[in-house]
Amino acid sequence: MKTQIKPAAVGALGIAGALLLWQYLATGPMNGSALPAPGHAIAELAALLATGTFWADLADTILIALGGLAISAVAGIAAGLLIGSFAPVRYATMAVLEFLKPIPPIVVLPLVVLVLGPTAQMSWVLVVIGCALPIVMQTVAGVHDTDPVARDTARSYGMGHAEILLRVTLPGAMPFIGTAMRVAAPAALVVAVVAGLLGGGPGLGQSIYQAQAAGDFPVLYALVLVLGLLGLVFQGATRLAERRLLHWHESYREVVL
């Protein structure tokens, strides 16, 4: 139990330190600028929490981020397994993927808006574009990291390609996929917001856009706080899921003392 309390306490200290830094920045070097004092933003946040539209927007954003993330995960992991396991697939897709990777969501945004309009679907697509490729890449690396002896074992027992992929390669690549998910989860959130901010998709992005357009900075930073907290929640959730899935892995094995 004691070991549980200690990280939480130190974590709280870390947050307190960050708040103090914020307070210092807002009242010191950045006084009079867009950055409000933390107290001000928090008060504004409390006011926001009382409005219905805020919750609707929040729900939209979460839905888009999670939905996009889920699609990216399923598609990305499946593609990564295929690309990592079969050399012909790897050679056939490598150049194309490498080419697509650096093309950022902001540049394709107008094209996506063009095809899908300022809609939730547009946001979903952007989230998938933003998250799928890192997941693919990490999965491929994970596949290459699985123990060949484990894979040979499966082959020698006459397990089919699909079965090996599902039961040996996939769990073997899990540590890398876990990393990928923890990188992608907050990114999904960010892209979901940016899609609203720049492309007119629904959710908190629009609220931020409006606060920015109106120069209403306390509201803007109240929303930023919400997003930061959401990021923390996403991170915690992926950690938890990972702990369940990877309990067997070195990094999660119960420390025996």
Binding site: R167, W248, R253
Partner: protein, 286 residues
């Protein structure tokens, strides 16, 4: 798999008993070459870094036989087994099962790896590790569980069924790998130093288990071992490998009477003779 074979095998305790059948499966199948290795050679890498590990290797294993392979460390025994299991492509020559050339893992074969600790999936419990390859056999639940239980009991790990491999000792992990092969009930079982990490007592029991499943299921068994006594005790024939690249120095026929018994068989004069015979074969080129 032999249809008449009983469904379970009891843990052999020191002494193993022959079946009641008037004609053992083994006699019936004798002299039928199950596994044929013909002029096999294997080179790792290519170009400048090429390394010829096996050169022109020839021998056969008959149905229902137990054959042991002995030879110095690093000579190419594991490489040979991997070629037989279809995990490594051969460079020239061929290995064949019932005349069919092996070019991928054959369905009727199972392999117990020398790297037993790496061949167990760390994310599966012992029980699930054993079940893993059985899934595609589409067994009924009852038979599946019964096979797993029998195999676990045979290697003495019933109590560890729900632990993860990394919670087990080295010898226990090795026995899990053996249990997995047993539960799979392949027609041809290939084992790479399978008893290296278990204690003497358990080793005896596992050796007898090995002979028993051969009799019960008519399995063909190929074992790599460094223990000459074990090779003589288990085998119908011992293949002695030597020199680098690996070549067959000799194939020694072991004519110990069946059924074999850990105490009486090992006390026979023939046993000591064969043992000395094999040992001298090994020492010769050193």
């Amino acid at each position: 798999m032999t249809a008449t074979a009983p469904n379970s095998f009891r843990r052999a305790a020191g002494r193993h008993t022959v079946q009641e059948d008037p004609m053992t499966v083994r006699d019936a199948a004798a002299a039928l070459p199950r596994l044929e290795v013909t002029a096999l050679s294997k080179t790792y890498g290519s170009g400048g870094s090429a390394k010829c590990v096996i050169e022109d290797l020839t021998f056969t294993v008959n149905t229902g036989e137990v054959v042991c392979i002995v030879g110095p460390s690093g000579v190419g025994k594991t490489t040979l087994l991997k070629c037989l299991a279809g995990l490594q492509p051969v460079t020239s020559g061929a290995a064949a099962i019932d005349g069919r050339k092996i070019d991928g893992p054959p369905a009727e074969m199972a392999l117990v790896f020398q790297d037993y600790n790496r061949s167990l999936m760390p994310w599966l419990t012992v029980r699930k590790n054993i079940r893993l390859p059985l899934r595609h056999l589409r067994l009924q639940a009852a038979e599946l569980n019964q096979r797993i239980d029998t195999a676990l009991e045979a290697v003495g790990l019933t109590h560890a069924a729900n632990q993860y491999p990394w919670q087990l000792s080295g010898g226990m992990q090795q026995r899990v790998a053996i249990a997995r092969a047993l539960a799979y009930r392949p027609e041809i079982l290939i084992m790479d130093e399978p008893f290296a990490s278990v204690d003497a007592q358990t080793r005896f029991e596992l050796e007898d288990l090995c002979l028993k499943i051969r009799d019960d299921f008519g399995m063909t068994i190929l074992v790599v071992t460094h223990d000459i006594d074990e090779a003589v005790y288990l085998s119908d024939r011992v293949v002695v490998l030597g020199a680098k690249p690996a070549r067959v120095l000799d194939v020694v026929d072991i004519d110990l009477p069946a059924p074999r018994d850990q105490i009486s068989s090992r006390a026979l004069k023939e046993f000591a003779d064969q043992r000395t015979n094999v040992l001298s074969m090994i020492r010769k080129p050193a």
